[in-house]
């Protein structure tokens, strides 16, 4: 079933032979979610580290098959949220409740301000701001760190220049093993991917560097 496609400049993986582009990695194309689930499991068991699966839609169980670990993002978001709570409380209690002076870029003195007969240090009045700053820092850090962890923003990617890979947005499922993987061996890795029963295996070149 598999039409093997020749891998152009196969032997150049890793080294910069003049006139030849470096190989970014090898892609294997599959037709069904079931096939890529099986393939992903085999790639994980073979010990590859720098690899990924690209699918047109979320495939249930793929994380497990790939052995993807849980992200630490929730903990960082929790930390950011807790920081927001603390900072909001300190800011409000310092500026409204006390009159000592601290150095924060410039010398700043608190200004005890009596509002409608409430105690100077009154938690209920502070809570809306504490709540808002918690949400603000948690939400923005979640948004920002998610992009950072995903390596975004990124303007281009070698895979996007590959014609075969374009069907990933429609009906094909791809396993990508990068050449920087310590287990990557030119030829050997392609052979391994072919053994997983894909419809095609193809090397993907790095993008040309601007002169």
């Amino acid at each position: 079933m598999s039409t093997l496609v020749t891998t152009p400049r196969e032997s150049t993986g890793g080294s910069g032979v003049p006139g030849h582009r470096r190989v970014y990695g090898v892609i294997a194309e599959f037709e069904t979610p079931g096939a890529i689930l099986k393939a992903a499991e085999q790639v994980r068991l073979a010990g590859y580290r720098w690899w990924d699966c690209c699918t047109p839609f979320p495939v249930h169980g793929l994380d497990k098959a790939m052995g993807v670990k849980n992200t630490i993002l929730p903990w960082l978001v929790f930390g950011a949220g807790a920081t927001g709570t603390t900072v909001a409380f300190l800011l409000q209690s310092f500026t409204n409740s006390f009159d000592f002076t601290i150095w924060a870029m410039v010398w700043v003195t608190g200004y005890p301000f009596l509002i409608s007969g409430k105690p100077l240090l009154s938690l209920p009045a502070f809570i809306p701001v504490m709540f808002e700053l918690t949400i603000l820092l948690a939400a923005t850090s979640c948004f920002g760190l998610m992009f950072l962890f995903n390596g975004l923003p990124r303007h281009s990617h070698p895979l996007l220049a590959n014609d075969r890979f374009r069907r990933v947005t429609n009906d094909r499922f791809f396993v990508v093993i990068e050449t920087r993987d310590p287990r990557y061996r030119p030829g050997h890795t392609e052979e391994f991917l072919r053994s997983l029963g894909p419809v095609a295996v193809e090397a993907v070149e790095e993008e040309p560097c601007p002169e």
Partner: protein
Amino acid sequence: MSHGHSAALEAHLDTANIRLGGAGLKARRLALAAGVVGIGASVLLGGAYGGEHGIFLIKSWLQVFLLVLSASLGALFFVIIQHLTHAGWSVTVRRPAELIASNLTWIWVLFLPFVVMAATGKLGVLFPWADLEHLKAHAPGEYDLVVAKSAFLNQPFFWIRAAVYFLVWALLARFYLKGSLEVGETGNVAVEARLSKWAGPSAILFGLTTSFAAFDWIMSLSPGWFSTMFGVYFFAACATTGFSTIIICCLLLQRSGRLQGLVSAEHYQDLGKLLFGFGIVFWAYIAFSQYMLIWYANIPEETGWYLARQIGNWPYVSLALLFGHFVIPFLGLISKWPKRMPQFLMLGALWMIAFAWVDFFWLVMPTIPHELAEAADYMAIVEAYRDAPTGIFNPINLTMTMGLVGIYAWATLNRLERYPLVCRRDPWLQNAVAFENM
């Protein structure tokens, strides 16, 4: 007919897996015994611990009645929003929710003691607006406020409204259970579409009836006081008990060997999210919003209600609520794993029901000091009520909870035994079983 279910799914729809059968018999008898003994003991203790006119006894009945009512209302809310959003994931946990909600068809029985009170002219003991003469003699300041509300707070209208609430709840619960049973038998998509079509109007009816029931049965205990968001507060309380009860029900059914392969950690995670979102965070949001506006505005006729919960020993209960109903469960259930771990989620749901109980205790039990309406000095009242007891260690609390929760559990187990535990022919069943949180 295959109905498009896979062979693996058909195996899970075996009678032994989706029928409770006799497995709940022992628990059901135990619940009935606890119910009868609990109510009997409460009535007996009422003479000794009920205080003047048995006020503690009747307030305790109201409190626990609200607790079990809120469990069914929360479950009804769950069922309605599943149809409103055409949710596929929840099909396998919806039938237990429908059965819990269907307790609303008989829950009016637990309201009969108040009918008896009204018939014997004693309703004013619980609801001050029902006995204006007494109010005029004892709290003339509050009397003026309450008289102005008598177009709404009068006995005939109160009973008409109560009848409407019970009727609407019974009809809604019945409508969704009957429809679901029909889909379960026939897989008729038209019935499913009808349930969805009426989910919008049902949600509106649900919102109006629960809000007004909260005004009538909790807020009017202190008729001089008002809070426009009180209905939402009660709704949040319903979400707490409702989602907790659904979680406990599903976990216990699975523990008894039912619903195997149908309800998974994925479903528990989502039920846990709903409990966390509505029952813990939304509750705290509403509770604080109500508190802060009144605290900031500092208008005597509004602050009195909170003063009653800050004098004597009440601060301990108020703080227990803050930490037990929000801070501790917030940190405990915020992560993914506690929601997916049956033992931990069970603990969380039981914990939340315990603090929903405290919440209703906190809502129903305190009385605003009647001197307050004319008081010039708040601190004098605080001083006078320095040792005011809360009654949280009154043995009636235990017996009444045992009694009404026992009766409620007995009725729920009856329903679980009578009907299939899952909607067998629901067109979305396959999706619900395969559901995963991404």
